[in-house]
Amino acid sequence: MKTRTLSQDLYKQLEEYIDSTEANEAALIEVLHEAQHLFGYLPMEVQLFIGDKLNIPASKVFGVVSFYSYFTTEPKGKYVINICTGTACFVRNANAIVKEFENTLNIKTGETTGNGMYTIDCLRCVGACGLAPVVMVNDDVYGKVTVDDVQKIIAKYTE
């Protein structure tokens, strides 16, 4: 079995959480939510740990992780820039916003900058169609974004 490279403390917290649930297959999704909250992503070692604790095959854990768009097996940047490409945003030219972020940060959608600061992702509808096009940076929401706003948004998260 692969050795664990991530913080033992986080594993301990995850274990405590799993023990607080019914610790069976039905709890898998909520356990994965907690694990991603703790580790930031779900690498193989975490998936194996969860499978072991819930007494279900790792293949089943991976099946669920890969099925849902919320779960990620890659570490993400400190600031995850989610550009809404739902229909309302799409017809209001969200694609131009995506391109501007890609050009400014010099990465493609789904990628993270070399310094681990920014990740660009697209998602479908954040439910704020009235503000289309919408951009979310972690939990901050920006509405009626124009191409010119992109630089200003990034500047807010520059350290």
């Binding site: 099925f67 849902y68 768009s69 209001r92 169609c129 009235g130 289309a132």
Partner: protein, 486 residues
């Protein structure tokens, strides 16, 4: 449960239900509060559920739990053979998903709650027979559930007052896209699209032209500007190839390319297809590829026919609602905007100017020359070509002069400013070897005259006729001194 026979019964029922709602409110503040719901259906009553209720209330009292629990009677739970049934409300269970469009399908949603991949399964058995953990389950949209208390409190006839002949009540639409007032609107069924868009929505953004309204999300279709007066309900939307679906209503204007929109929806369903059944997993992917081909200007008319066939097949053979409705955006846009598809495949043009590969750029040399900051473009020296033409015995060479030259030329030769040198210029050009000199003044004058007064058009017509008759067959009448028509 009591039968509702008159208004008093109904009002009593309302009071009971208000009490249930109060339990929820109380529970919100007090997480320890429990309601024991005891089945009062015939099966359970016959197995002593009423006695059970009495005993439970006694026990609650004995333990001093009046503030944290109470027992009350409800209607049939549907497990009559297992009676008496007691349900503890609420159970404090809250399930979270993790983002998958297909989980809107009821069996997929159930699998997701059970902790697995949200893949749909074939029906029957329907969830009402065997659903979550194999138990009968009612899966409905929040909007549906939200309507229930209002219907019970105000009665069915009240609810039936709203809506069209076939679809009753109201519907919430999420109005978005190229429209002035965006947001959620609750309207009675049977309202026309025109009322929603122009009265409530305040019309199209920036005064543009409405092209279509997309309803029902990625599973729905388009309604065209011609269908603005259709009364919106479940049946009418279905009959024009769209659907109510999520209640999304996206306004599309003339700046949006309809093929691009169809491609956008397909991209989404391809991403969200769970991959279980082949028509949806592979078929939609092929549809998406064909649409991409068309937007890149590589599509053919045969592709359109193939797409239609494929879309119909996917619709008929997919396992769940996602696959069965995924081709709707393609089918409905092809039905109503076939011209736009044809423009892409036959003329290789995108009428809305969205598809990059089909945009054609034209460089206007004069405009470029005038603004080029780096002198990247330079005027070409055609003097040798002109000499060749003059020296060619067989060629009849005409030189055309711009009006300003008759003055500018004199200044170049050191004459007083504003000296008119028309005669000298023409003589010089003739000496160089041009056969004729055509003065632009001639055409410029005609234009000015016509612009000055429309009545001169008639004069010009007769003049033109006269001129044409007098011009020798070698070509236009040339003048050695400029011809002036006053």
């Amino acid at each position: 449960m009591d039968r509702i026979e008159n208004l008093d019964c109904l009002l009593n029922k309302q009071k009971e239900l208000e009490h249930t709602m109060d339990i929820r409110k109380a529970n919100h503040d007090n997480t320890e509060y429990r309601e024991l719901l005891i089945c009062g259906g015939t099966g359970c009553v016959s197995s002593q559920s009423l006695k059970l209720l009495e005993n439970l209330n006694q026990e609650i009292k004995n333990h001093g739990l009046e503030n944290s629990a109470r027992a009350s009677i409800t209607g049939c739970f549907g497990f009559c053979e297992k009676g008496p049934i007691v349900k503890v409300f609420p159970e404090d269970v809250f399930y979270v998903g993790a983002g998958a469009f297909v989980c809107g399908e009821e069996t997929a949603l159930i699998h997701s709650i059970e902790g697995g991949r949200g893949e749909p399964t074939t029906k029957p058995p329907f969830p009402a027979e065997s659903g979550l953990w194999g138990k009968p389950t009612s899966v409905n949209n929040v909007e549906t559930f939200a309507n229930v208390p209002a219907i019970i409190i105000n009665g069915a006839s009240w609810y039936n007052k709203f809506g069209s002949h076939t679809s009753k009540g109201t519907k919430v639409f999420a109005l978005a896209g190229k429209i002035n007032n965006v947001g959620l609107v609750e309207v009675p069924m049977g309202i026309t699209l025109r009322e929603i868009i122009y009265d409530i929505g305040g019309g199209i953004k920036d005064g543009k032209k409405l092209k279509a309204v997309q309803t029902g999300g990625p599973s729905g279709g388009c309604i065209t500007a011609d269908q603005l007066d259709v009364e919106i309900d479940y049946e009418s939307l279905y009959s024009i190839g769209s659907m109510m679906g999520s209640g999304g209503m996206i306004v599309i204007d003339e700046d949006n390319c309809i093929v691009d929109i169809a491609k956008f929806y397909l991209e989404f369903t391809v991403e969200e297809s769970c991959g279980k059944c082949t028509p949806c997993r592979v078929g939609n992917k092929r549809l998406y590829e064909m649409l991409t081909k068309i937007t890149e200007g590589k599509g053919t008319e045969e592709d359109l026919e193939t797409m239609r066939n494929l879309a119909e097949t996917i619709k008929l053979t997919s396992l769940c609602g996602l696959g069965q409705t995924a081709p709707n955006p393609v089918l409905s846009t092809m039905k109503y905007f076939y011209d736009e598809y044809l423009a892409h495949v036959r003329d290789k043009k995108c009428p809305a100017g969205v598809c990059q590969a089909l945009l054609k750029y034209h460089i206007s040399e004069d405009k470029c020359l005038a603004v080029c900051p780096t002198a990247a473009l330079a005027e070409v020296n055609n003097v040798p070509t002109v000499w060749d033409a003059i020296n060619d015995e067989k060629k009849f060479v005409v030189v055309q002069t711009v009006p300003a030259v008759r003055v500018a030329l004199g200044e170049e030769f050191g004459m007083e400013p504003r000296t008119v040198v028309t005669g000298k210029m023409v003589a010089a050009l003739r000496s160089i070897g041009f056969d004729k000199v055509f003065d632009t003044d001639f055409a410029a004058d005609l234009t000015i005259m016509e612009e000055a007064s429309p009545t001169t058009t008639e004069t010009l017509k007769s003049l033109k006729k006269e001129l044409l008759e007098s011009i020798p067959r070698t070509g236009l009448r040339q003048s050695e001194s400029p011809m002036r028509i006053q």
